[in-house]
């Protein structure tokens, strides 16, 4: 079920009404669990069984880890959880990718082998709920949280519908404690949740789908050389589209959870105002970057074993981070570009040693613009279906057009839409860089909050929504 669908509007109204009518906390949790499985099963009912199986297995393994006294047994149970979760993810998401690469490798040795293709659907949101579930056994193993005794609570923590299919990746250790006692609503919490949901829908339906998606699709779907202006417009459009799409989903999720009395952490903090790449990753998809930091980077040794080992660890993490997004080498290259940028940034910092000039306004402004430009460069590989498309677009962005003839594909109106929206996005991120949306709204005059909320709602209604799926659903 998509947030930007009429089904969800009806579903959410019904769930909210029933939820706040019930007095028993147990009944409310049961309701949320059933609602979450309906939310998921409305896409493809049989895959709800896979979701349950993943949850039930990790519930069992979490208990085994906690009960084991022998460190080797604890470790064995933890490895079992990691292996089973990643195998399931690997089968559904990476099966054909692995086979294709296997075939390619054999062909290099003169062996013509054609493996049968798996004809399997990718369960929606499998990367997210696998990480939700896996975070539990890993945190129990790390003794960051104690295991829950309630299978119902755990399955609800994994499947809680606001964050189920496209994040944020809410760790069981952050969610299970909220299931202990019935949440109360702070003054204004419910309404603030509704406003956040409106903002998230506006970002997705109006800004991502209506203002930017066509431009990005046109440019990345074209098979020939492009004019530099069109290539840049396409890439900038995608940079905005993916932010509004994914941040919009996260904002909706946070808002929906607030309406139900739950508190989810931020997943985005104005990332296009980042100065430097480590700053970017503290602001972009925070729940994934902290997951990879805690469960991969630090266990690999982090930066405890010298700068060379830290650089290798960073590259491994970004390689995995790229692959997590999709079963294609273009995603891997996207991750590796970020890895290289992070390593270079560390080198530069080691050389400059926080010199005063690095904190000057102009330096930071230029660094911020450079960061955004480099992030956009990396987006080319994220969005392109293959390397030849990526190479064409990068060449066009650099003004390298074969025979000097590149296609001008975009209507002037599209260029204006991209220009206005991206300029607004960058200015807004810059202005909000060191604050929060809550602080800004608190300071805003009431008439302005009313006007903006009404405008967003009006634009959503006017756009009518065309049921575009969220980009991150495919991950």
């Amino acid at each position: 079920m998509l947030f930007n669908s009429l089904t969800f509007v009806v579903f959410f109204v019904l769930v909210l009404s029933a939820y706040w009518t019930m007095r028993s906390w147990t009944a409310r949790k049961n309701l949320l669990l059933v609602a979450s499985y309906i939310f998921y099963g409305a896409w493809n009912p049989p895959f709800a069984l896979l979701l349950f199986a993943t949850s039930a297995l990790d519930f069992y393994l979490g208990a085994r880890i906690a009960a084991a006294d022998d460190p080797r047994a604890r470790r064995a149970w933890m490895i079992t959880s990691v292996t089973v979760n990643l195998s399931s993810l690997g089968f559904f998401k990476y099966g054909n990718f692995l086979l294709t690469n296997f075939e390619w490798t054999l062909s290099k040795y003169g062996v013509a082998y054609h493996a049968p293709q798996f004809d399997v659907f990718l369960p929606i949101g499998i990367s997210f709920y696998t990480f939700h579930s896996l975070s539990y056994t890993l945190d129990v193993y790390r003794k960051v949280c104690q295991p829950t005794k309630s299978l119902r609570d755990f399955t609800l923590a994994v499947s809680f519908f606001p964050q189920l299919v496209a994040g944020p990746i809410v760790r069981a250790a952050d969610f299970l404690p909220q299931l202990v006692t019935a949440p109360g609503l702070k003054r204004g919490q419910f309404y603030w949740g509704l406003l956040l949901m409106t903002l998230g829908m506006f970002e997705k339906i109006v800004l991502a789908d209506t203002m930017l998606a066509d431009t990005a699709d046109t440019i990345f779907g074209y098979g020939g050389p492009l004019q530099a202006l069109d290539a840049w417009a396409g890439v900038l459009a995608f940079s905005g589209q993916i932010f509004f799409d994914f941040a919009g989903y996260s904002t909706c999720a946070i808002g929906a959870a607030l309406c139900l009395g739950f508190h989810l952490k931020d997943n985005f903090r104005f990332p296009y105002a980042a100065v430097g790449f480590s700053d970017f990753w503290r602001r972009w998809h925070i729940s994934l970057s902290t997951f990879l930091r805690d469960f991969l980077y630090i266990p690999l040794g982090g930066n405890r074993s010298g700068p060379v080992r830290a650089a290798i660890n960073l590259m491994i993490v970004m390689f995995i981070g790229g692959l997590w997004h999709g079963a294609a080498w273009t995603f891997v290259v996207w991750g590796l570009i970020h890895g290289v940028l992070l390593v270079i940034e560390r080198l530069v910092k080691a050389v400059t040693k926080d010199a005063a000039w690095t904190e000057a306004f102009m330096t930071r402004l230029l660094m911020g613009l450079f960061t955004y430009a480099a992030v956009c460069f990396a987006w080319v590989f994220f969005r392109a279906n293959d390397f030849s498309t990526a190479a064409r677009i990068v060449a066009a962005m650099a003004g390298q057009i074969p025979h000097g003839v590149g296609a001008a594909l975009l209507p002037t109106l599209s260029l204006w839409k991209v220009g206005v929206v991206i300029a607004g996005l960058l200015l807004a991120h810059r202005a909000l860089r060191d604050t929060s949306i809550e602080a800004v709204v608190t300071r805003m005059p009431r008439w302005l909050v009313t006007a903006l909320w009404t405008l967003m709602l009006g634009a959503i209604i006017l756009t009518q929504g065309n049921g575009h799926a969220f980009i991150y659903f495919q991950f």
């Binding site: 896409w43 829950t148 607030l258 508190h263 001008a408 634009a459 006017l462």
Partner: protein, 360 residues
């Protein structure tokens, strides 16, 4: 160690505002704006109509029974076929599966591959788009509709169901003209001289019911601004786009030629599959006139694709110009009949259909 049974210490801040009053004000303002907009668009002549999207098409495809009469093809089959008249004449209400600006071959193929189907297919044959190769937009339109039919989720079905109710009430939910995107497209922003922009599709000029019966609206039937926008929009849409600059022209044309050649064979094979199960297929060339006729006749003369498809498939065909009672209709915007004319045309078409379908 923090535990799953302890209280979570993270609490999201909530701005301190008079929220109830704010929500009330937002609700009232939005409702007033929506009502005002609805009144305004109705004054402009818009009425509630159903969006001709893949969901509505998939609903109809789901209604096809093994012995159904099915109409496929382009917008001419959609506008010019009156379902009530066909029901009276043929004894069974046809299922309308024609799609605006679509190549119907994938749908014919879908019916041919449906082993249970042994009904009747009435297909509009407009050669320029029947022969459109993949992945051209007309071909992809049918592919997308079929994909929706095969892969609709429960959530998509229920959203469509709720959406239909809203579309039946509100004129401003007009998908062709009144979405934010369509309104922005009305801004007078000239394009760059060298820009390769595909010609725009026609504006809103027909209404549709749940059976997908379509009627041209009055403003398009009578001479005026809307009719001009529609009819002068056809020539660019019926002019094949130039070959892409990044592929050698000869190679591109050879590829297209190969795809077109394959389409003749594939069409014949699909027709034969349906006929082998006892089904029937009849091709119809619906009326068109004005400058559009010159363009189509020049690009695809009757002796070309039309005759070849009939010959190779063995299916009967009804070409409107062959029969005086079908030839005299005037399409107000050169391509489709007005609603009253479509009823009359269908009445006159029925005997020819019966005769064609009686042919073994």
């Amino acid at each position: 160690m923090p535990s799953s049974t302890s209280n979570f210490d993270f609490v999201r801040p909530v701005p301190d505002l008079p929220w109830r009053g704010l929500l009330l004000a937002v609700t009232l303002l939005t409702a007033v704006a929506a009502v005002a907009w609805e009144i305004r668009v109705r004054a402009w002549g818009y009425v509630p109509t159903y969006t001709d999207d893949s969901d509505l098409w998939a609903d109809r495809r789901g209604k096809v029974k093994p012995d159904s009469i099915v109409i496929i093809g382009d917008s001419r089959a959609l506008f010019d076929s009156d379902l009530n008249t066909l029901e009276q004449g043929l004894g069974q209400r046809p299922v309308q599966l024609a799609l605006v600006a679509s190549c119907a071959y994938p749908i014919l193929e879908n019916l041919a591959n449906d082993e249970s189907f042994h009904g009747t297919v009435i297909s509009s044959l407009l050669p320029m788009i029947w022969l459109a190769p993949p992945p051209s937009p007309p071909y992809q339109k049918s592919v997308r509709a079929l994909h929706r039919y095969r892969n609709r989720t429960l959530a998509q079905r229920s959203s469509h169901f709720i959406g239909l109710w809203l579309e039946g009430q509100l004129a401003f939910l007009n998908d062709d003209d009144l979405t934010l995107e369509a309104l922005l497209n009305h801004l007078p922003v000239p394009n760059r001289a060298a820009a390769q922009i595909p010609p725009p599709g026609p504006p809103y000029f027909f209404n549709m019911d749940l059976d997908r019966r379509s009627w041209m609206i009055d403003q398009a039937v009578h001479p005026g601004k809307l009719q001009d926008r529609v009819k002068y929009g056809w020539p660019p849409l019926f002019t094949p786009p130039p070959p892409p600059s990044y592929v050698p022209k000869e190679a591109f044309l050879a590829g297209v030629g190969k795809a077109i050649e394959a389409r003749f064979g594939d069409t014949a094979a699909a027709v034969k599959k349906i006929r082998a199960r006892g089904g029937k297929v009849v091709f119809v060339r619906y009326p068109f006139n004005g400058p559009l006729k010159e363009i189509e006749d020049k690009a695809t003369p009757r002796a070309g694709p039309w005759s070849r498809i009939l010959k190779e498939s063995g299916a009967p065909g009804i070409y409107f110009e062959d029969y005086p009672e079908l030839a005299g209709f005037i399409c107000p915007e050169w391509s489709h009949l007005s609603a009253p004319d479509s009823v009359e045309f269908t009445k006159r078409l029925v005997p020819h259909l019966k005769q064609a379908l009686a042919t073994p």
